[in-house]
C-alpha cells in the first residue's frame, strides 16, 4: 500500500463506521411483532404466517381456562372453519352482555344494591339477584338516616370497595348506595357514565391511573345538591409490595413475608393465595418503575 493513500483509507473507515453509530441510536429491542412462521401451525396445511393471520380457520369457541403443565390441553374446543361468533353462554363476557356464566364482570350483590348473598348469571346473560338479600330496616351503613326535608343525603360508597384501599388493575367498578330522591349523581363533576342499578343504588366504571385516585361524589335532586362524598383508591404496580413505585429486592423481601397467606399486598392475581403465580408476576416486572 502506498503511504500517501493512508488518509483516504482513514476517511473510508470513518464513513463505514458512521452508519453503525446511527443505527445504534435508533435500535429498540423490546417490541415484538409476529415473525414469519410464528403463527404457522405444525400440521394444518397452512404454509406461512400471513395465511394464518388472515385465516378464519383458527377460531376457538367456548370457555377457555388457563392451564399449566400440559402442552396439549383438552380444556378448550377448537372449531376449524367456522366464522367467529360470540354469543351469550359462551363463557366470555362479550359486548352487550351483563354477565356470562361465571364471569360476573366484578359485580356482587353489594354492587347491585344488596347487603349480602350470592349474585349469579342467568342463561340470558343477566344478573340473578334472587339469592341476594337486604338486611331489614336500617338502610346500609353510617350516615344513613332518612332524608331531611329540603336536603339530600350524600351518596355512599359500598363498604366492599371502601375496604379495598388499593387495587392492581386500571378498570375499576365504583358503586354504592344513594338517597332515593337522587335524580343525578356526579363523579368528579361528570354524571355521563353513572348508572342507577336500583332506586337507591348506583355504579360507574372508571379507569385508574397509578398512584392515588380520588373521586368526589355528589347527589343531585333538582336544584338540591348533597354534601360531597370523597373516595380514594390507590392503584399499585404489580410487584411493588413496599409501594415505592419500583420492583426490586426490597419488594421481594416483603413478598416473602406474605408467602402462603392471602394478603392482597402480595396477591397480585387476586386468587386469595400468595404463591408462585404471584411470584411469577413480580418477576415479570422486575426492575420496573412508574
Amino acid at each position: 500500500m502506498q503511504y500517501t493513500k493512508l488518509p483516504i483509507l482513514l476517511v473510508a473507515l470513518a464513513v463505514v463506521a458512521m452508519p453503525m453509530s446511527v443505527g445504534a441510536v435508533s435500535s429498540t429491542s423490546y417490541q415484538i411483532i409476529p415473525e414469519a412462521g410464528f403463527l404457522s401451525p405444525s400440521a394444518d396445511g397452512y404454509g406461512n404466517a400471513d395465511d394464518m393471520l388472515n385465516s378464519t380457520s383458527y377460531q376457538l369457541q367456548g370457555a377457555i381456562e388457563a392451564y399449566a403443565g400440559n402442552p396439549t390441553s383438552s380444556s378448550y374446543q377448537e372449531e376449524s372453519g367456522s366464522a367467529f361468533q360470540y354469543y351469550c353462554g359462551d363463557g366470555f363476557l362479550d359486548p352487550g352482555e351483563t354477565c356470562d356464566g361465571a364471569d360476573l364482570n366484578s359485580a356482587t350483590c353489594a354492587s347491585q344494591g344488596f347487603d349480602a348473598g350470592t349474585l349469579t348469571c342467568s342463561s340470558a346473560c343477566a344478573y340473578v339477584t334472587s339469592a341476594c338479600s337486604t338486611s331489614g330496616g336500617g338502610g346500609g351503613g353510617g350516615g344513613g338516616g332518612s332524608p331531611v326535608s329540603g336536603s339530600l343525603n350524600e351518596p355512599e360508597v359500598s363498604d366492599e370497595i371502601v375496604d379495598l384501599e388499593f387495587t392492581y388493575t386500571s378498570p375499576f367498578l365504583l358503586y354504592g348506595t344513594m338517597d332515593e330522591d337522587t335524580e343525578e349523581l356526579t363523579v368528579n363533576d361528570d354524571s355521563d357514565d353513572v348508572e342507577f342499578t336500583d332506586d337507591d343504588a348506583w355504579k360507574v366504571s372508571v379507569s385508574l391511573s397509578y398512584g392515588l385516585n380520588s373521586f368526589t361524589l355528589v347527589a343531585i335532586d333538582g336544584s338540591t345538591e348533597s354534601d360531597e362524598t370523597l373516595y380514594d383508591i390507590y392503584r399499585r404496580l404489580i410487584g411493588d409490595v413496599n409501594q415505592d413505585d419500583s420492583v426490586n429486592d426490597y419488594d421481594l423481601s416483603k413478598f416473602v413475608g406474605l408467602w402462603g397467606g392471602s394478603s392482597r399486598s402480595g396477591d397480585f392475581n387476586e386468587d386469595e393465595t400468595v404463591d408462585d403465580y404471584d411470584f411469577s408476576m413480580l418477576v415479570a416486572r422486575w426492575g420496573t418503575s412508574v
Binding site: 488518509p7 463506521a17 453509530s21 445504534a24 401451525p41 392515588l212 429486592d249 408467602w259 402462603g260 415479570a284
Partner: protein, 412 residues
C-alpha cells in the same frame, strides 16, 4: 361523611408512610470463606459467600462481587445454605468482573450464620487478583436493609502456573457419554464415565475418585487398576465434580483429571401469563407478560404458541399485532437450561372493529406494559449511549490521526 374522611386519611397513611421508610443499615455481615485463594492455572477453585445476620432476621440477600477478570473467570454460581430460592435479576459478567446474585427463603427468617452462594472460579492467568464484596450487596429483613457495609469481605486469589506432567507418569483421558459437556446442563441424574491411560512407564495399580459438589475434593474412593468406567448417580440437582487420579505400580501418582457434571431435573417455578386486556378490537395489539425463575440451571428461554401453532422463542412483554377477529389461546413455555419446561396459558378475544367494548373514559391500552417497556427502553438507551460514545471516540481518534498525518506530510 366522617367515615369517608376517616377512610381517606387511612388510605393516605397506607399510601404514603411506606414510601417514607428508609432502607436503614443494620448489623448483618457478608464474608468470603478465605482471605487468600490459591489455584493452579486451568483449575477450579470454590469461593463461598456467607451471611452472618448478627441478630437480624433476614429473608432476602444479594451478593455483588467484583473480581479481576484477567486472573479468574466465573464458571458457575450456585446457592448453598439457608437461602434456597433464586431471586430475579441474577447474572455474572466475566468481561467486567462482576457477579450479582440474590436469593431468598420461604422457610422463615434466617437468624443464624449460613453460607449463601458458592462461586466456582477458573484460574486463567498466572498472577494475583482481588475478589471483593461490593457495598451494593444486600441483606434484607421484611423490606428493610440490614447490611453492615463495613462488614463486607474481600480476598486475594493467587493463580500459580500449571504443573508439567512428570516424565514416565501416565496421563488419564476422561470422558462422559451421559454428560459430555462440562458447561452444559442435563436433566439426567445417571452419570456414565470412562477413561483411558496414556503413556506411563508403569501400569496403574489403583484409581481413586471423588464425586461431590466441591470442585477441589480429594479423590479418595478406591477402584482397582483394571477399572476403566464408572456409573454414578447424582443425588440431587446441582453441579458435581468428578475427579480421578491413578497410582502406578511404581508408586507414582498421575495428575488429577476431572470434569463438571451439571444436573437439573426440576422444571422452573410456576409462570403466570398475564394479558393486558383480554378483549381487544381488530387492529389493536394484545400485550402479554410472563416470567419465572429456576433454582438450579436458570431460565434459558420462553416460547410462545398461539392456538395450536408451533412454539417459538419470545421475550416478555410480548406484543401481538394484526390478529383477526376470533378467540385465541396463548400458551407460554419456560425452559430451563437442562430442557425442563413448565407451561401456562391465557385466552384473548378479538372483536370486529367498531364493537362497543364499553371501555371507560381514560382507558389505557397498555398502561402497565408501558411501564415495563419504558424500563427496558431506558436500559437499551443506556447501552446505546455507551456504544455511541465508543464509536464517537473511535471516529475522533481516526480523524485526529488523519490530521496529524496530513500536517506532518505538509511539513515534509
Amino acid at each position: 361523611m366522617m367515615k369517608q374522611l376517616l377512610h381517606s386519611f387511612l388510605v393516605a397513611v397506607v399510601v404514603f408512610v411506606p414510601g417514607l421508610s428508609v432502607h436503614a443499615a443494620g448489623a448483618a455481615t457478608m464474608t468470603l470463606d478465605e482471605s487468600v485463594y490459591e489455584v493452579t492455572r486451568g483449575e477450579l477453585v470454590d469461593v463461598t459467600v456467607s451471611v452472618d445476620p448478627q441478630g437480624e432476621s433476614l429473608d432476602t440477600v444479594r451478593a455483588v462481587v467484583t473480581f479481576d477478570p484477567n486472573v479468574v473467570s466465573v464458571q458457575s454460581v450456585r446457592l448453598s445454605g439457608s437461602f434456597d430460592r433464586v431471586a430475579p435479576g441474577n447474572y455474572y459478567d466475566n468481561g467486567s468482573g462482576k457477579i450479582s446474585w440474590g436469593a431468598f427463603t420461604l422457610d422463615g427468617p434466617v437468624t443464624a450464620p449460613t453460607s449463601f452462594i458458592t462461586i466456582t472460579f477458573l484460574g486463567l492467568e498466572e498472577g494475583e487478583g482481588n475478589i471483593q464484596l461490593s457495598s451494593d450487596s444486600r441483606a434484607i429483613s421484611n423490606g428493610e436493609e440490614r447490611i453492615n457495609t463495613a462488614g463486607l469481605g474481600e480476598a486475594t486469589v493467587e493463580v500459580a502456573p500449571s504443573v508439567e506432567s512428570e516424565p514416565g507418569v501416565a496421563i488419564l483421558a476422561l470422558e462422559s457419554s451421559s454428560h459430555p459437556d462440562g458447561e452444559a446442563w442435563y436433566s439426567n441424574k445417571s452419570v456414565e464415565l470412562s477413561w483411558v491411560q496414556l503413556e506411563g512407564d508403569s501400569p496403574i495399580d489403583a484409581y481413586y475418585y471423588s464425586f461431590s459438589t466441591e470442585s477441589d475434593a480429594e479423590p479418595n474412593i478406591y477402584l482397582d487398576g483394571e477399572t476403566t468406567s464408572l456409573s454414578l448417580e447424582a443425588p440431587n440437582d446441582g453441579i458435581y465434580y468428578f475427579r480421578l487420579k491413578g497410582v502406578q505400580e511404581d508408586g507414582r501418582e498421575t495428575s488429577v483429571v476431572g470434569g463438571a457434571v451439571r444436573v437439573d431435573t426440576t422444571a422452573p417455578n410456576a409462570i403466570e401469563l398475564s394479558v393486558q386486556d383480554d378483549k381487544i378490537l381488530v387492529g389493536e395489539s394484545a400485550w402479554f407478560t410472563f416470567a419465572t425463575t429456576d433454582e438450579t440451571s436458570g431460565v434459558l428461554q420462553y416460547q410462545v404458541a398461539i392456538n395450536d401453532s408451533a412454539f417459538q422463542v419470545q421475550t416478555s412483554p410480548l406484543e401481538m399485532e394484526d390478529l383477526p377477529e376470533g378467540t385465541y389461546f396463548f400458551r407460554v413455555a419456560a425452559f430451563d437450561r437442562a430442557g425442563n419446561v413448565i407451561y401456562s396459558g391465557v385466552s384473548v378475544r378479538v372483536y370486529p372493529e367498531g364493537t362497543d367494548l364499553s371501555r371507560v373514559e381514560g382507558y389505557e391500552e397498555s398502561g402497565e406494559v408501558q411501564a415495563i417497556t419504558t424500563s427496558l427502553q431506558e436500559a437499551a438507551g443506556e447501552m446505546t449511549n455507551n456504544r455511541t460514545l465508543l464509536i464517537t471516540v473511535v471516529l475522533g481518534a481516526i480523524a485526529l490521526f488523519g490530521i496529524i498525518y496530513v500536517s506532518r506530510k505538509r511539513k515534509n
